[in-house]
Symmetry: C2
Subunit: 125 residues, 2 copies
């Protein structure tokens, strides 16, 4: 899912934490997609261990969700509405996708003069 209500950069805690990178190519069959997207967006926010999400759609879609640990990722993978969405996604909505489960080891941020703070967790990268 490209949960497009999330258009900001996520404020995640200091590493380590986990990221799920979901890269997709949509099919031309989008019936039911927007409704499922809305449903899952609401449920996701209450999932244990959920830390945030960043999502953009264009020629491909990239959605990155952030999680406390692998257990919380697995619980979301197995959540029943999400399971329905995954099946529907394979049957209908996606021509292709790839999921990558990652451990975030370092991060750093930049906020310019239009923002109020600059944070750096690890400026060496």
């Amino acid at each position: 899912m490209n949960l497009s209500t999330d258009t900001m950069i996520s404020s995640t805690p200091a590493p380590p934490y986990y990221a799920v990178i979901f890269t997709s190519i949509h099919s031309d069959q989008d019936a039911g997609y927007a409704k499922m997207n809305d449903l899952l967006s609401g449920i996701l926010r209450d999932q244990p261990g959920y830390l945030g999400m960043e999502s953009v759609s264009g020629e491909i879609g990239i959605t990155v969700s952030y999680w406390q640990n692998l257990d919380s990722i697995l619980a979301w993978k197995n959540q029943k509405d999400h399971q329905l969405a995954q099946n529907k996604g394979k049957q209908q909505w996606y021509d292709q996708y790839k999921v990558r489960i990652c451990k975030v080891e370092r991060d750093y941020s930049f906020e310019g003069v239009n923002h109020t703070r600059t944070t750096k967790n690890n400026p060496s990268f």
Copy 2:
């Protein structure tokens, strides 16, 4: 940089490998951005340890680049043209960005009937 010439899902090797998630909010000052983007896209392909990239721009930009190891990420961070781009990015092109350095521990793919193969490295997630 949101290197928009890369619009496909990257064919990365079996994990472990590394991902750099670059999430950005552009300013309204884009002079020189497209030219730098083109320059860096060409250089990037020859960087040691570079495995691929996925990039989309919308209300935010998400660019994920993939790398063999942390050393190759650091070498790209320190590459001289990329250093110029990073400085220009902070001075001009970006209001805000966040960089996350991640170890990809597992991945799996789906390719539907419009594609020729289905690969799964770890179907449990």
